[in-house]
């Protein structure tokens, strides 16, 4: 039985979500053992920002980051084994990023099968959105951030929120 984690938009926020491209990845979800959907439009983000703790360094950084962001849309998938998905599954997303308003600003890959691409959406001379497509053999993450985002500050938040959940069975390697 697949474990399905879905985080839906909150009912109190308007459902209309100005994503800048369609994150239609149902075929990927069908192959995934877990998936996470997050869609947060501007009013939800403004509401959530009120609950950020200005005394917490990470949350203060997030508060600053949110200025200018109009929406955050994330699809994240985990797979039981490598080979469960292929790059062709991401073509519906990539095809939309070949439009004139998008330009790819960086792409990296490693011999371990990790790939990541970042596209910037512009309107005139202004940056109005970012798309991130990141893949590993057993994981896919697709992100659209609408608005003006500081990627440097975003990267500083990388996975380090709050308290790590460490299983009690974890053992120290060396005796203290």
């Amino acid at each position: 039985m697949k474990r399905l984690l879905i985080f839906a938009c909150l009912a109190l926020a308007a459902m209309a979500a100005p994503q800048q491209f369609q994150l239609n990845l149902d075929s990927v979800a069908a192959k995934a053992s877990e998936h996470v959907d997050v869609s947060l439009n501007a009013s939800t983000l403004q509401f959530a920002a009120k609950f950020l703790d200005a005394n917490d360094p990470d949350e203060a950084k997030v508060k600053k980051l949110l200025v200018g962001i109009e929406g955050i849309y994330v699809r994240h998938f985990n797979f039981k084994s490598a080979g469960a998905w292929s790059q062709a599954d991401l073509e519906p997303v990539r095809a939309q990023l070949h439009g004139p308003e998008w330009s790819k600003i960086v792409g990296t890959g490693s011999e371990d099968g990790e790939k990541a691409e970042v596209w910037l959406r512009t309107s005139g001379n202004k940056s109005v959105g970012v798309a991130i497509v990141a893949t590993q053999p057993k994981e896919i993450t697709v992100v659209n951030i609408a608005g003006n985002i500081d990627l440097e500050t975003l990267s500083e938040l990388g996975g380090h929120f709050g308290v790590p959940k460490v299983k009690p069975a974890d053992k120290p390697k060396k005796e203290e």
Partner: protein, 91 residues
């Protein structure tokens, strides 16, 4: 055993922090917030005082915040990996 790995273990052996470190930590911790239990108790009192409707709105707010933090965490991890790769290439 490989000589370089031996030397790395020697070079990266644990070192004690400066004298008095533990005392400084204890002193600072005693000054700071007194722990999650007291924080949780204070938060519960705030919720009760604000009334049921306010409590629901607050719950929704924290839920929204949790989802937002999750979204940012998922977005920031690949950006961070890209930065590491780029720095590795330019080394």
């Amino acid at each position: 055993m490989d000589w370089l790995e031996d030397e790395l273990r020697r070079a990266l052996a644990r070192e004690d922090p400066p004298d008095g470190f533990a005392e400084r930590v204890m002193a600072r911790s005693a000054r700071g917030p007194s722990g999650a239990r007291r924080w949780l108790a204070a938060a519960a009192m705030v919720v009760v005082a604000a009334g049921a409707a306010g409590a629901w709105r607050q719950h929704q707010g924290y839920e929204a915040k949790r989802e937002m933090m999750l979204a940012l965490r998922l977005a920031s991890t690949p950006i961070n990996r890209i930065q590491s790769e780029v720095r590795g290439i330019t080394q």
